[in-house]
Subunit: 95 residues, 2 copies
């Protein structure tokens, strides 16, 4: 199993656009990507411009395939363009 925590720092004026587009990514990923056990979006309750994806994948290979999918390649660059600073991504294994 592979886990991903991806923290996004979004410009204030882009928060609503980000939420709309990021939810589309969540929907497409959950419905289309093999090996996706969990892929959810969360908002920081103390800072509404901070959003975190928490993901769980059957394998690194299937996570990589997700990152090659059309919906990923189409949406992720747009999310990045709404960001204050680069995403913090950690790829994790449970211990």
């Amino acid at each position: 199993m592979i886990y991903v925590v991806a923290k996004n720092y979004i410009r204030e004026e882009k928060v609503n656009d980000f939420m709309t587009l990021a939810k589309k990514l969540v929907e497409d990923t959950n419905s289309k990507d093999a090996g996706c056990i969990r892929y959810q979006l969360y908002q920081d309750i103390n800072n509404p411009t901070v959003f975190t994806f928490i993901e769980e994948w059957e394998s690194m290979e299937l996570l990589n395939r997700h990152m090659e999918a059309d919906h990923f390649k189409e949406i992720v660059p747009q999310l990045a363009a709404m960001s204050e600073k680069p995403e913090d991504v950690n790829i994790l294994q449970q211990i």
Copy 2:
């Protein structure tokens, strides 16, 4: 439901001690704390000094009660003492 992502940056020489103590915290929390739905520890596959707790709680109130528990008050300061820099903690709601 309340989610917590807590990222820890551990001094290299303290990684083993951290893992032992953090696993004790995971065990105590899962077995003792009401409202704990998920409380797990993960290690970054690209940087073995970075550890992330991913937590899921029934409510903010029960998360706060966890942070008042003996095992939390006893162990968390010791984990902090092993750290390179302060923990990154985000308290989150799913959107």
